[in-house]
Amino acid sequence: MRIERRLAQPRWLMLVVPLLSLVVAFVVATVILLATHHPPLHSFRRLFDAAFLANGALTETVVSATPLAFTGLAAAVAFRMNLFNIGAEGQLYAGAITGATMGLLLGGAPSPVTIAVMILAGSAGGALLAAIPGVLRAFFSTNEIITSLMLNYVMALVIDYLIFDSHSYLRETKGFNASVFPQGKQLPDAATWSSWTIHGLVLPLGFLVAIGVAVGLWFLYSRTRFGFEVQVIGDSARAGRYAGMRTRRKILAVMLLSGAVAGLGGASQDGDFRHQLDPRGLTQANYGYTGIVVAALARYNPFAVVVVAFLLGGLQNAGYTLQGADFPNGLVGVLQGLILFCVLGGELFVRYRIRFERRPSTAAPATQ
């Protein structure tokens, strides 16, 4: 058996291989479910039902898909340059903090102004946090994987501190409830982002913004000089430097962009869905990490990110809806990981061909 590189990658393979990978992932999941005495078909049907078919399921799926679209885009932007920002989780928290702060500060302002300021503040918050691993990577060559990830844990503690352990501006301090169970201050009505209902499907502003961001990123990466330079540096930093590209600036710029997109997702959490800084809700959802799965499955293509975010949003939504009952806890992460493994492994069959041939009966003489 030999594995050799394909000279041309047929188009049909690029479609068939990921689909087959999905099938393999579900087959493996079936084995895991059977081994732990859960009825697999029943679990999958309930999953699919809760994600896409049940009454109002699609609306809930969009709710889960919106942050995943943002974090997925954030990861895709950076990963394309081989810059592994896995801090979208923390950058989303940062955006949620700055977004909620501005929403509260602008209490009486008209709604469009408040929303616009929240969007800007959220992006700025995420970008500011991403600037730390960005600067360290650009100017000190510090591994951005670890630094961006460490900041996720720090931000989770910051958000806990703001709501549970201090009398911060963001915490609700009045009322009986507030003294028993600490929670974030309710945002004013003007800070509630608009939404549109089409045939019972509620489309929040955040989801549309995410689509807009995807279009913008596609344009940036495929139609501008900046995008071209980022791709070149991503493929070979040395080639980029020799061609006179400013590598450090690009690293920092891409990191800031990635953080800004993730932070925007945080502001959308405040404005679209939670209407307060909600520490438990944000830190338990794992949006940032799932965003990496989304980006990798979408092969870092911004439009594909939105589609994959919708599909994985369905999975995540089903995980919430079914949690607690006889639905195995942790199955969602297992499925996400399996799908990613299978798609990653499947790429071999797109790039390489496998030849089965009989070995020559005698060892070939070493002639060259």
Partner: protein, 319 residues
């Protein structure tokens, strides 16, 4: 004396640093063969849950149950590492993405929580746990007592592991071959070394070490099963390998340093002048970032850098 802040923090720093040390030693072996495995957090959690399961289910005497539990944890960690090894060595997948996938698959929201839930492990204390092995009178010696003699068998075993790994890397033929595979797989291949075999073996051993590190949490430090009980220790272990310059003895120093910072918030709780707990809890993460910056200077990287082939697949036909 033995209750003073300094002695307590050093003694507990060693205890809390031990899981980091095991995981870092494992990651070091994998990276020395050229395989970057970012799935340490996931492997630790699966090791923690399976080790805890074993100790609850094995109805034998305490030492036997604990040894069995460590073996189960090591096997579980190695099984997780096998997925990564197959993907990156045989299927030539991107090592960074595959490692992240492993952490998502096995981590807090994945297999470890699935198993913990399914095997009904939450909310019960461990039936057996690792305890101090030296007599009480030894532990009461000033300063030295709690630090050197108050530890569990896992701590002393980790010291043996550090020595063994250090000797293995510098004094044995196989260890030298391993370093050749990590530095220049093409040259190693030309020498007749089985590159893929070495990479598989060391990735699996690395997973086993991570599994034991996870079990150190669930059988000695916590000691019970909580979803996500490692709280990022796997990631700190990966960073530890970097600022230990891929050397086992420096891993030991680094692990105890970070162990001390992990324990500090608990030690400070009883003092009135203590800073907010979140500030103290964020110290290990902040220190990781700072330490990484310190070692990433150009001079340090040239002299004590990563194995040259780290993160790159080796394909004989494409070198």
């Amino acid at each position: 004396m033995n209750n003073s802040l300094l002695v307590v923090v050093i003694a507990q720093g060693i205890a809390y640093g031990t899981p980091l040390l095991y995981a870092a030693l494992g990651e070091l072996l994998a990276e020395r063969s050229g395989v970057l495995n970012l799935g340490v957090e996931g492997m630790m959690l699966v090791g923690a849950v399976m080790g805890f399961w074993a100790v609850q289910r094995f109805h034998v005497t305490s030492p036997l149950a604990l040894v069995g539990a460590i073996a189960v944890a090591a096997l579980a960690g190695a099984a997780m590492a096998a997925i990564h090894a197959f993907l990156v060595i045989t299927l030539r997948a991107n090592q960074i993405v595959s490692g992240l996938a492993l952490t998502i698959f096995a981590g807090v929201a994945g297999l470890s929580s699935y198993l913990g839930n399914d095997l009904n492990l939450a909310r019960s204390p461990a039936r057996h746990q690792f305890q101090a092995i030296f007599p009480k009178s030894w532990q009461d010696i000033n300063a030295v007592g709690p630090i050197l003699f108050g530890q569990s068998a896992l701590v002393y075993a980790s010291w043996v592991c550090v020595v063994l790994v250090a000797l293995y890397l510098t004094r044995t033929r196989v260890g030298l071959n391993l370093r050749a595979v990590g530095e220049s797989p093409a040259a190693a291949d030309a020498m007749g070394i089985d590159v893929a075999g070495y990479r598989y073996a060391h990735t699996l051993v690395g997973g086993a070490f991570a599994g034991i590190g996870g079990a150190t949490f669930s059988l000695s430090i916590t000691p019970q099963w909580l979803a996500g009980l490692t709280q990022g220790a796997g990631w700190i272990a990966i960073a530890l390998v970097i600022f230990a310059f891929w050397r086992p003895t420096l891993c030991l120093v680094g692990a105890y340093f970070f162990g001390a910072f992990t324990y500090l918030p608990f030690a400070l709780q009883k003092y009135s002048w203590a800073p907010p707990p979140e500030l103290a809890q964020s110290l290990p993460y902040v220190m990781t970032v700072l330490a990484l910056v310190l070692v990433s200077s150009r001079a340090a990287r040239l002299r004590f850098g990563a194995p040259s082939a780290l993160g790159q697949p080796y394909v004989r036909e494409e070198r």
